[in-house]
Amino acid sequence: MSFKALVVIVMAGILVNNYTLRQFLGICPFLGVSKELKNATGMSIAVIFVMLLATAVTWPIQMFLLVPNNLGYLQTVVFILVIAALVQLVEIALKKFMPPLYNALGVFLPLITTNCAVLAVTIANIDSGYTFVESLFNALGSGLGFFLAMVLFSGVRGHIEASDPPESFKGLPITLVAAAILSLSFFGFNGVVENLFA
């Protein structure tokens, strides 16, 4: 496991396998919370934070608890409960010890439990056979990819608000068309990562 391999994992998560624009994970917050840059940033930071934390907790659970006891099939149940509990704990801890951070991120935390990107990243780590450190970097890359998509899209949405689409396209449909174009632009990153150190 070299430094280069880790950089490749992070860059792949951000650009090539972007969770939101390439794999359709976390679409609900992507469409719902991206109206204002401030909210988009807050939500994304909360997602990165929870992704890292969830990976740090679920990977050892899978490797040291479920696999040795032949309980691999409980993965889905255990992971989602761990994530739900974790989000609650983080919320309580932030409220108690870091009120400024809680004020900034607090409203987004309950939404994250049902954000499929978080569950997906923990399962993808196991499925791809990553080591613990690789898993953490994969979570970081995926989270940063979500962050990038959210920030870019909140900028795009600012312009949509000012535009005048056909009546039936007003609202959600035109937003989705914009997402399609943004997603198209991410196809330009195909192959970037493979040649990163070539």
Binding site: L21, V33, K35, Y73, L81, C116, I123, P173, V177, F187
Partner: protein, 230 residues
């Protein structure tokens, strides 16, 4: 009178409150697995199975589950059924299991299932919840099938794997990729908007209430949920 109300519970999920095209919930699987019509059917059936079972169980337990911890309870029930369908698929439909991949586990966090548990199953009798789940399941499957058909026919020039004469040689492969998914979905919703105009589907009634986090998220997080609440 009573009979017609049962019927309306069943049918409202199919057209009037179609979870995908009207309520705009559960967008992740809608966009992700609709590259082939057969995948869409598989996903729809798996989803319907989980929704029916979890709706019945949650409806039966609705007086036992304490209000404060209801969301974790729902998630546990749903996750249990998702595991069952995962194991069943692994045993009897392995190619489909491979094709759906991670999105099968992600049924757990599908907002439609949690939303139905929160909005319907915890307030209604098991049989009504069953009908509601059947209707919603059919609505979800149909929406997925429509979308997958469009994407497969234009993207790969096939339908359920059967080649279509002219399109087979002139396929628009971008349709099966991510941008095509967003674009087809946008067009379908625009079409629904166009058709439903005048009949006034009041999105306001759904939007946030369909979201299980609605009680906690306040206005900030949900402000744009489901698009354009007016």
């Amino acid at each position: 009178m009573k009979k017609s109300s049962k019927l309306s519970i069943l049918t409202k999920g199919i057209i009037k409150e179609n979870p995908v095209l009207v309520l705009v919930l559960g967008t992740c699987p809608t966009l992700a697995v609709t590259t082939q019509a057969s995948n869409a059917i598989g996903m729809g059936l798996a989803f319907t199975f989980v929704l029916i079972c979890s709706n019945i169980v949650i409806s039966l337990l609705r007086k036992i589950i304490p209000d404060k911890v209801r969301i974790p309870c729902y998630i546990t029930v749903i996750a249990g059924f998702v595991t069952i369908i995962q194991l069943l698929m692994q045993a009897y439909a392995y190619s489909l299991y491979e094709a759906l991949g991670i999105y099968l586990s992600l049924i757990v966090v599908n907002c439609i299932i949690l939303g139905r548990a929160e909005m319907f199953a915890n307030k209604n009798k098991p049989f009504d919840s069953f009908l509601d789940a059947v209707g919603m399941g059919i609505g979800f499957t149909l929406a997925l099938l429509v979308m997958a058909s469009i994407r497969e026919i234009f993207g790969s020039g096939t339908w359920f794997g059967m080649p279509i004469p002219v399109l087979k040689d002139n396929n628009i492969s971008i349709m099966t990729m991510a941008p095509g998914g967003f674009f087809v979905f946008a067009c379908l919703i625009a079409l629904v908007n166009k058709i439903s105009k005048g009949k006034a589907i009041r999105k306001k009634e759904f939007g946030c209430e369909g979201c299980p986090s609605a009680s906690t998220c306040g206005k900030t997080g949900c402000s744009g949920k489901g698009g354009e609440v007016k």
